[in-house]
Homo-oligomer: 174 residues x 2
Amino acid sequence: MAFQLDEAVAILERTPRVLRALLEGLPEAWINCTEGEGTWSPFDVVGHLCDGEETDWIPRTRIVLEHGDARAFEPYDRFRHLGVDHGRTIGARLDRFEALRAESLKTLKAFELAASDLGRRGLHPELGSVTLEQLLATWAAHDLDHLFQISRTLAKRYREDAGPWIAYLRVLRS
Amino acid sequence: MAFQLDEAVAILERTPRVLRALLEGLPEAWINCTEGEGTWSPFDVVGHLCDGEETDWIPRTRIVLEHGDARAFEPYDRFRHLGVDHGRTIGARLDRFEALRAESLKTLKAFELAASDLGRRGLHPELGSVTLEQLLATWAAHDLDHLFQISRTLAKRYREDAGPWIAYLRVLRS
């Protein structure tokens, strides 16, 4: 186990800047590309990350702190971003995600979590009993999962174009 | 086939900024983590990307333009970065990669490639006949492959810490 709250925050605070560095001003062909029917473009992913700030990470942390495992988390809607207006352009979505994440981290800091709080338990509607530490580790890993997804989605746009080099690029075969 | 030179350059010019946004100032525990014995840390990957600028992408483009497929590319040494001093700190490596990449893109621009140049052929020592377009598409996809790798390497540090959420995070199962 590797979790340290300050190290998790170091990932969480960087993600808006990483996504901006990667996506802002990038040609639309990249922003809107997907891995095929039913998969998400980088534009979709940034909307999904906004959803997480609004309905998942801090709201669930608050439930753990206020109710422990006496009250289950609200189920998470993976498709909420398809119906919520998180911004019509990638620039607007990046701005929104950055503002939401900054607010989340401000709230997290205000909780003044001690090491002893990390073992506090919550109740996930599908996964059952979880700890606050698992929730916070998942928040950081979830950011990285979506950076992983965006990198893969972008790379696969050149799957055919790379010709025989596909043999050396793992991302193109994934 | 999706390749457009300006779109590939849009990826290539962003990579140093993306890696800086992700890695600069990040705790050493993240910078030096790996996926296990024989795999690369984010610190190693940035060194490998420096190697590419010095020995792969532009040098091979030059061989195609000057010799076509009459002269094979030099074999690429995937482990060169372990013996070359690309900087002792992640900050120094990021600076070095940024400078090398800027120089590469300046050189690429100076080649003034026309669409008709993209079909010119080169000879890869293992893969055989390749086109300039395939080489340039691979350059961009290779950046994304390593961003994919870094995201995965960082995320897997929380493989155990995320507890039951591993079921929802693809990157942790990869």
